[in-house]
């Protein structure tokens, strides 16, 4: 973009802020421009209103629950809708544990795949793997859930759980009877779902690593792996970290697949082979059945917490990306 053309296009950003709207709306714009400008401005403001509306509605609807149960709601583990006893801890716990399992599994695979795609893969294989990643990202959550119940859960019950219990059964992590639906199943499904996400972002970040650095490292006699480990990864560390954080945000909010395989039991168990519950799942399952105003309000409050966590995580990722200026697209 030449300086001259950018000047024409960016008239608005160059005028002092006070006069900006005037300049755009009257001097430079003609009548139909003004109409179009107003419509597009209105559209933009409407998107802001949507986010504000979500926040407002969530707070407004959860107010009764917040007033009645206060902060204790978040640390109580009792969930008994019939007697109006509500504690969100089992759900928060389930969401955190299943997402943690997912990230533990998905991160190495995601980064490994991204490295393979950017640094090593022959052209033909690259196309196939990129297709696989895209397909994994395109499959809807409910289909993952379907596959999870009927294929993955029995597989874990019959093959994975016995092995884990045989060799690692002394750990509290792998104790208790496994019925297939469990934290581990949910974590695995989530891992498959967020891998494409991590791969996509890590790949984007890796592509920005300057070729000169790579060439210099190779020219000095480093092997490909040494170049990746000591040059490329340190360079892209922050960006990849941001990608993992974004994937965490995805995993926390994932609803259908988790609902279908986590078992939906509001209890806290140290064993990941036991069923659990998650914040999104309890909303999906019980929102329609909520028979009292306070019950509904409690569910919305869980939603509010989930929303807040998702936004904070996203902000954190964006700050990371922002810090790594070259990669941040905006």
């Amino acid at each position: 973009m030449t300086p001259a053309s950018s000047e024409i296009i960016n008239v608005e950003s160059r005028t002092p802020r006070v006069r900006r709207f005037k300049a755009v709306a009257s001097t430079i714009l003609r009548r139909n421009d003004r109409i179009a400008f107003s419509i597009s401005l209105g559209s933009g403001l409407l998107t802001i209103a949507l986010l504000a509306g979500i926040l407002y509605q969530l707070i407004f609807l959860s107010l009764p629950a917040i007033q009645r149960y206060g902060l204790g709601f978040l640390i109580s583990s009792e969930w008994d809708p019939v007697h109006k006893k509500f504690g969100a801890l089992p759900f928060i716990y389930g969401t955190l544990v299943s997402s943690a399992i997912a990230l533990l599994i998905a991160t190495p695979f995601g980064i490994g795949t991204a490295l393979y795609l950017t640094e090593l893969a022959p052209r033909k294989l690259r196309g196939i793997i990129a297709f696989v990643v895209d397909m994994l990202a395109a499959i809807p959550s409910v289909v993952y859930g379907l596959w999870g119940i009927f294929v993955l859960a029995p597989f874990i019950q019959e093959s994975i759980a016995p092995i884990l219990q045989k060799y690692l059964g002394f750990l509290p992590l792998f104790q208790g009877r496994c019925d297939g639906v469990s934290m581990l199943t949910a974590g695995l499904i989530l891992a498959i779902m967020v891998v494409p996400f991590i791969t996509a972002i890590a790949r984007e970040v890796l592509l920005t690593a300057p070729g000169e650095l790579k060439a210099a490292s190779l020219a000095l006699g480093a092997t490909e792996w040494e170049t990746i480990w000591k040059v490329i990864l340190p360079y892209s560390r922050v960006g990849i970290g941001a990608g993992v954080v974004l994937a965490l945000g995805r995993a926390l909010g994932e609803t259908m697949a988790v609902t279908m395989v986590i078992g939906n039991m509001p209890e806290i168990s140290a064993s990941i082979l036991r069923p659990g519950h998650s914040m999104a799942a309890v909303i999906a399952n019980e929102f329609r059945e909520a028979d009292s105003a306070i019950y509904l309000s409690v569910l919305v409050e869980i939603g509010l917490v989930l929303f807040a966590v998702a936004l904070v995580i996203n902000l954190a990722a964006r700050l990371l990306l922002w810090r790594m200026r070259g990669v941040a697209k905006n």
Binding site: S13, R20, I28, I129, A284
Partner: protein, 291 residues
């Protein structure tokens, strides 16, 4: 990295250890990538294996059969899904395009444009179940009933930021020299946008719109307590409506093998629909018009 360099390492123990490390790690990375094929093959394989045999004409023309009765189909869910998705898209696509026109054409670089872009990212990061609660509170609570409109509203909120960011990405590929040329010829800003910029970006915007459709096409969570579900035909947008993803969920959570079979078939159909939409999106930008 050529073979020559490798030979140049020579044969000392230190160097051969480095080469071994190198080989091992390269293989590990390749295996990471190949490992992703396993779940995909597993899912697609099961979809085809379990679903294909249940797809017949009745599947497309009949209502879901009551428990215990064999046969039946998901015709009303297909129609309902198309209705809910298209109503959402009709609102989201123009709004998204106009918003990105503001962000990238009218107010590029301004503070408000940055805020809007940021808000879109936040909307994009919002868990879909939250959008269900939002649509419930805005539409269902105020009209007093579950409806296709409520479902569309949830999908609309979900789709808008995707369209905005997608379109903006495309507008960015339209060179500023074209805009400058149009303005220099005396065209107004809107004429430039409408007759020069948007036509140049047309294919790209089609792609963005298709991708956003594919993104919301399989969404279940926002529809659970908005469009709700319905065992019968419904063409009235103000009434509860069946949709394909919700029907799959219902089939899958039931204890009946016959419903499980249909769940696989419906899932196969859904994945097929989404893949086709994605393919159309790719196809639209295959021949680029924008330099």
């Amino acid at each position: 990295m050529s073979r020559k360099t490798r030979i140049a390492y020579g044969g000392s123990a230190h160097i051969s250890r480095r080469r071994l490390y190198n080989a091992v790690w390269l293989v590990v990375m390749g295996l990471c990538a190949l490992a992703l094929i396993a779940p995909l093959a597993g899912i697609l394989g099961y979809l085809i294996y379990k679903g294909f045999s249940s797809i017949n004409i009745a599947f497309f023309t009949e209502l879901p059969a009551p428990v215990g009765e064999p046969g039946g189909g998901v015709a009303n869910a297909i129609v309902g899904s198309l209705m809910v998705i298209s109503m959402g898209a009709i609102a989201a696509i123009p709004l998204g395009i106009m918003t990105s026109v503001y962000v990238h054409e009218f107010a590029r670089g301004s503070r408000l444009a940055t805020i809007i872009r940021f808000v879109c990212d936040m909307l994009n990061a919002t868990p879909s179940i939250i959008l269900g609660i939002f649509a419930y509170s805005v539409v269902v609570l105020s009209t007093g009933q579950f409806s296709a409109i409520a479902g569309s509203f949830a999908l609309f909120v979900m789709m808008t930021p995707v369209v905005v960011r997608g379109t903006e990405e495309i507008l960015r590929t339209v060179p500023d020299s074209i805009r400058a040329a149009s303005l220099a010829l005396g065209a107004s800003r809107w004429q430039t946008i409408w007759k020069v910029v948007l036509p140049a970006a047309r294919r790209g915007i089609t792609t963005a719109a298709c991708l956003s459709l594919a993104r919301i096409g399989g969404e279940t969570a926002p529809l659970l307590f908005t469009a709700l579900g319905n065992d019968f035909w419904n063409f009235d947008p103000t009434r509860a409506t069946n949709t394909l993803p919700v029907q799959i969920f219902k089939f899958a959570s039931s204890p009946y093998p016959d419903w499980h079979r249909q769940a696989w078939a419906a899932a196969l159909l859904l994945v097929l629909g989404i893949s086709i939409t994605n393919a159309v999106a790719r196809f639209a930008t295959r021949t680029k018009t924008v330099a």
